[in-house]
Symmetry: C2
Subunit: 373 residues, 2 copies
């Protein structure tokens, strides 16, 4: 009965679908068919119908009409953050599997409700598209760390500072980001990708302390956030993210991981491992996108083959917790211990995702290029 | 009566004198005469006598014998950190002005005793050679900030990570650094220079939270320290310093200051100011050393002209406090408010030093080169 492609309803057809999801779905035509789509704005829906080659007959202005269709297996939810929880809830109640943009809720309370929700619908798959979990360079980094490339990690450091002002046609311009309706502004929107990478490579954070500063009038939430981190492993680290209004000069913007046997510099689609007595090794992968393709593969294999989901609600909630507890730490002037809900914190918090189908990263020797120098 | 050069006794004639103080004193022959010197090791004293061109007749094995001489105006104390307080005390009791290496004491309690000590001897000058206060590039940076080059500072960030293992003939090899007898190891020894720069450019720190990690068996104290900082001005920042045993790849190692009107990248003897709509400006000064020459000028002018000392015990104590409170924060898992002893904390905590004599930095237009690009 399950031989057909997954019949997907797309709820929200904005920039994230155009830039992130549709390019992945295009490469997965045997796995997914777009059966229906919803947007409160008809012009945006028409734009989507046009580039995705779907018929306006399958359009619904109200996502609840879409959920009422019996010919849908699953929905993709790509809406402003405050919609993630209520629309996922409605979709599960309608019996649909869900793949939903991050983060899992607007705050700690809603994140916990989100986890309880999926426990209620155990027969349905819910995957939060935290693409960083699935990014090939990140998976490669994790596999090198697992093999001992760095020895014992003792220090992690990441500073990322870049101008954030509304630019027409970019994510920065979407109105809900200026008055976001959730705490943390860009740190909960963009920053959770960074905490996802940090958790994938360093394990869970046990304690966080933060300082914040407001220096951007064009976005909601504090612009600067600096978090000191204690990891379950015993390592420590700092994550400093700045989204100022002013343009800043070129920044290094790499995560550095310092171990007793090596140092890793993790950048965008490139990583370098430096070990004593060895030439530096620069790795580049052939990855096709920021991880969305792989997320859809995981979603497909979870539905069809019963494979575990890596981007679970609980895992993406953990990414949020680092930001939210950091913000709370800054407000209250205290160090926060992360509440290990819904399960124990772990030094290898996140499984390293690998698909059942052939994985170019680990199965194709030509997929990763290495330069020594 | 005070027309002669200051008759200086040198207590401790190790690497710091050879590398830092003697080159400065050589340029100040009209201001200083080395009249006596002490070292518990006669071979080290002979080495000093040789390069400094002084007679072994003026050598004392015990610094207390040196202090008993009536033909000394002042002493330079260049000893392991735990000796700074007791030897300064003995020198003041012997009626000598003191110029002493940083930091002012081994811990918070001794630092406070140090401040009380100099209050007891108000007729004598005490200058702690925190050369960073006097460094020309740092003074230039501060003058640009004072002129408004950055607008309102909102974020400061500095990561400095470098291998620290004993190397023959370098500071890293001196035995007292491996078993230092003071808390914080390299962070109290080397790190206080960084906190001096941070205070000079950003003002006082009001709150600090820290995490530490031990990953170096060759030095006492934690190897990694990451401090989140709240400044009196309202800005926030992070200072991460790592002294691992393992070699690390090239690091940026610049202090970045993010303001509402500009960004400064402050490096060693070079700084860059980036402002919107303007080409980046790269400044380099002609400074002759890390600031020791200027410190000796300040000491001379304080004794001869009654000029204020910038490198006071209280100011260098404040630098220490950031490190010591950061370490305490890490141990206890709390955010620490800096105790504003001996006076109020301030957003312009440190005066910008400028000599009575001509100051190349501000009086000679050729001394600073600026490249735009």
């Amino acid at each position: 009965m399950q031989d057909h492609a997954i019949r997907l309803g797309v709820i929200g057809t904005g920039l994230a679908v155009e830039r992130l999801h549709w390019p992945a779905l295009q490469r997965l035509k045997h796995e997914y068919t777009i059966t229906a789509f919803a947007n409160h704005s008809r012009p945006k829906a028409e734009h989507f119908a046009n580039y995705a080659g779907v018929s306006m007959d399958d359009y619904a202005e109200d996502y609840r009409d879409l959920l009422g269709r019996s010919d849908l297996d699953a929905v993709l939810i790509s809406l402003p953050i405050p919609m993630n929880y209520p629309v996922t809830k409605a979709a599960l109640e309608a019996g649909k599997h869900v793949i939903c943009e991050k983060p899992a809720g607007i705050d700690d309370a809603e994140g916990r409700k989100f986890i309880e929700l999926i426990e209620t619908f155990q027969d349905l798959i819910v995957l939060i598209t935290e693409n960083s979990f699935y990014q090939d360079t990140a998976r490669l980094a994790r596999s090198l760390i697992d093999k001992g490339a760095l020895g014992r990690l003792h220090l992690a450091s990441w500073r990322t500072v870049s101008q954030l002002v509304p630019k027409a046609g970019e994510f920065s311009s979407t109105p809900w980001r200026h008055d976001p309706g959730y705490e943390g502004g860009p740190h909960l929107d963009a920053g959770v990708h960074h905490t996802a990478i940090i958790r994938l490579l360093c394990g869970d954070v046990s304690h966080v302390s933060g300082v914040t500063q407001d220096a951007n009038t064009t976005h909601g939430g504090p612009s600067d956030l600096s978090l000191n981190l204690k990891f379950v492993s015993g390592a420590v680290g700092n994550y400093t993210a700045g989204y100022p209004e002013l343009a800043v000069p070129k920044e290094p913007n790499d995560l550095r991981l310092y171990g007793t046997e090596g140092v890793m510099s993790f950048g965008y689609r490139q990583l370098t491992v430096s070990r004593p007595e060895e030439p530096d090794a620069v790795y580049r992968t052939g990855q096709v996108d920021g991880g969305h393709f792989n997320a859809f593969v995981n979603f497909f294999e979870a539905i069809r083959l019963g494979e575990p989901v890596v981007g679970t609600v609980a895992q993406t909630f953990r990414n949020m917790q680092i930001v939210l507890d950091g913000l709370e730490s800054a407000r209250r002037g205290v160090v926060r211990a992360i509440d290990p809900y819904p399960s124990e914190l772990s030094a290898t918090a996140l499984p390293l995702w690998s698909p059942v189908r052939s994985d170019p990263l680990f199965d194709n020797p030509d997929y990763v290029t290495v330069e020594h120098g």
